[in-house]
């Protein structure tokens, strides 16, 4: 018998990944136990596949095959390459917090943040034996999602941010994930807790240093907005074209909070952004918007779960996908209105624009309503550009691609309106313009 022919299963590969990484993962005692439990959970089920309802359209056994080994901590050369990649970022004027290959890089980060902000490294907290609740950072009861469990098992670092009560930050907090290695996993978990009445903007960017290929990003962020807080949350997924990005946001909104989120996916071969947003207090509002700009063979999945658990909250989701060539967009939006959540107003509108015959879009809006005095609505459309609009523009002198570009910008524009910060909105618009310019 030829031993080399027996292929290890994905779970066995993951076990090796975990075993190899265990000694370097921060946190002993209860932290190590939490990791072990999370990993066992993952090992039992393995990568999610099409028979797992929530992952029906994004079969990671096909798309990822297996979990790559953790990236080595970055050396001086890696940091140098990361620095070059940072120079290409459009977002300026923010407090920059940089994670290179899954490890916080103080030399590339802003060390002095404005008053009212505290920052720690996740690794430091997990290693702090004096912190009795440190292992809680690797646990969540917001979701039993298996990729969140994998993230807990493997997370090497992250930033843990706090904003004081009533602090109104003047600059965005910008977490930048830079990959410099190939065929490796980056596992990070970050936190942001907004005090009562505070205001902050969180930007997350995912980029690659030149030459980094086929890496896998496994990220999670956990956000809490205290009473009356305003949180703007912008994500820019610009990973390398053959990389994977599996990210989760777990958001808890207090009484009277305002949460405005916008996700823009233009990079990565395979991506999934899943957001679990829970209304924990009344009179809160959430706008959860997203745009995917896809071509080649890209696969991008946006999955949102909104839990209206208390009365008098409102939510609005606007999602737009522009899908060219043989790319595939997935949107799943689930709104749960719990029995107590009277006077909920929840809306969701998702539209996909298919620019080629091979392009594909799956839209799955779901409403699960257990309260009777609510207003909920959702809609989903998929289609091509309107020929009569295209002809009108061309009859006025616009060449085909320019006419298409104008209509595509209008198509995504509505979702981008949720970005309150004008310069960040301009970054999103510029990203879309670059994407359109590359179409020729």
């Amino acid at each position: 018998m030829n031993v080399a022919l027996i292929k290890p299963t994905a779970a066995e590969v993951a076990s090796d990944v975990f075993a190899a990484a265990r000694d370097r993962l921060p946190g002993k005692g209860p932290v190590a136990e939490a990791r072990r439990a999370a990993f066992d959970d993952f090992a039992k089920k393995g990568l999610p596949h099409r028979r797992v309802e929530e992952w029906k359209y994004t079969d990671l056994r096909v798309l990822l095959r297996e979990v790559a080994a953790l990236a080595a901590p970055p050396d001086a050369a890696a940091l140098k390459r990361a620095e070059a990649a940072l120079a290409t970022l459009d977002v300026t004027g923010a407090h920059r917090l940089v994670l290179v290959d899954g490890v916080f890089a103080p030399s590339l980060s802003d060390t002095t943040l404005e008053a009212g902000v505290t920052t720690h490294r996740l690794a430091d907290i997990l290693n702090d034996a004096g912190n009795a609740t440190r292992a809680d950072l690797l646990r969540t009861n917001a979701t039993a999602d298996i990729m969140v469990a994998l993230n807990a098992a493997l997370a090497t670092d992250g930033v843990v941010l706090g904003v004081a009560d009533d602090a109104k930050l003047t600059k965005p907090l910008h977490i930048v994930h830079v990959a410099t290695q190939s065929a490796a996993s980056l596992a990070t978990r970050s936190f942001l807790k907004l005090g009562k009445g505070s205001q902050a903007t969180l930007v997350e960017s995912f980029i690659a240093a030149g030459g980094a290929q086929t890496y896998q990003t496994h990220d999670a962020v956990v956000l809490w907005a205290g009473e009356g807080a305003h949180l703007d949350h912008i994500r820019l997924v610009e990973d390398a074209r053959d990389a994977a990005n599996i990210s989760t946001a777990i958001v808890t909104l207090g009484t009277g909070t305002q949460y405005r989120a916008f996700n823009l996916t233009s990079g990565a071969a395979v991506s999934r952004y899943q957001a679990f947003v829970r209304f924990g207090g009344e009179n809160a509002h959430a706008d959860v918007n997203g745009v995917s700009l896809l071509n080649g063979r890209q696969h991008a999945d946006n999955t949102l779960v909104l839990d209206h658990t208390v009365p008098h909250c409102t939510s609005n989701e606007v999602f737009r996908a522009v899908v060219d060539e043989a790319a595939h967009s997935v949107f799943q939006g689930r709104i749960n209105v719990h029995p107590d959540a009277q006077k909920t107003d929840a809306r969701m509108m998702t539209r996909a624009l298919l620019l080629s015959d091979e392009a594909e879009a799956d839209n799955k809006p779901e409403l699960e309503i257990f309260a009777d005095d609510v207003q909920c609505g959702h809609g989903a459309t998929t289609g091509a550009l309107d020929d009569s609009l295209l002809f009108y523009l061309r009859a006025r002198g616009l060449p085909e691609k320019e006419a298409q570009a104008l209509l595509i910008q209008a198509f995504v524009g509505e979702a981008m309106e949720a970005i309150a910060d004008e310069s960040l909105r301009d970054v999103a618009i510029a990203t879309a313009e670059r994407w359109l310019a590359r179409r020729g």
Binding site: Y392, L393, R394, A395, E400, E402, A403, L407
Partner: protein
């Protein structure tokens, strides 16, 4: 010297059905031609084929514009060369601001002709002047293209574009439909202001009234996909009096 527009024996099919059965029309610089004819006689079809709308199959004949084969050009190339169609039914384009649209279109045409693009202040000055002459408020220009415009406002927006792009051939497809009397006069004044020895107009209409404002040099009657009679401006008056019946006999 060759004609500005020369349509020769044009045959056009839409979805396997022939709509134009050998239509000929010659338009020279400086001339204004009116085309009249009953509903469904093919007037809009002719204007669409000249502008390059997809979906029409030209099975015979040719269209020359400034001596060049127009049918070989894309719609945007035709626009850059000076063909302009004021649509019978202008579309609404939500999310595209009118100003952005006008500037992008104007500069695309200029670029295609190898001319320099307009600077923003020059562009704004030009748009404001043309808009003012057509009684189009600035507020309308800030909206999406034609979004929420009344029927008459859409038509005025077409004339605005004509004034801005300064085409050498203007085809106006039922510019008068949906316009009230004052709006009609304003729009017609806008069109008349563009009359010049370098430019020609083809005015498609059902009503003699428009031709009181925009006085044509020639009137053509279309019926069942052909030009069945051509004459001077008095032909329009005759049509108003007697209707199309006499010409439908001839076409059949």
């Amino acid at each position: 010297m060759s004609a500005l527009l020369e349509v020769r024996n044009l045959q056009v099919r839409v979805e396997e059905r022939e709509i134009l059965h050998g239509l000929s029309l010659t338009v020279n610089k400086g001339e204004v031609h009116a085309i009249m004819g009953p509903n469904g006689s093919g007037k809009s079809t002719l204007s669409h084929v000249i502008a390059g709308k997809p979906g029409y199959e030209v099975t015979g004949g040719e269209i020359l514009f400034k001596g060049e084969d127009l049918l070989e050009m894309s719609p945007d190339e035709r626009a850059a060369k000076g063909v302009f169609l004021a649509f019978q039914y202008p579309v609404e384009i939500p999310g595209v601001a009118t100003m952005t649209f006008l500037r992008t279109a104007l500069n695309a045409q200029r670029k295609a002709r190898g001319e320099s693009e307009y600077s923003t202040p020059d562009f704004l000055k030009k748009v404001r002047a043309v808009a003012a002459s057509l009684n189009i408020p600035q507020e309308m220009l800030r909206r999406g293209v034609n979004v929420g415009f009344s029927g008459g406002e859409k038509k005025r927006n077409e004339v605005l574009q004509m004034g801005l792009f300064e085409p050498s051939l203007c085809i106006l497809d039922e510019m008068d439909s949906g316009l009230d009397i004052d709006a009609l006069r304003i729009a017609a004044d806008g069109v008349n202001a563009l009359r010049s020895s370098e430019r020609a107009m083809v005015v498609i209409t059902h009503y003699q009234r428009l031709l009181n404002y925009i006085v044509p040099d020639f009137v053509h009657v279309m019926s069942k996909g052909r030009v069945v009679k051509s004459g001077g401006k008095e032909l329009a008056l005759e049509l108003e009096e007697k209707g199309y019946a006499q010409f439908e006999e001839q076409a059949a």
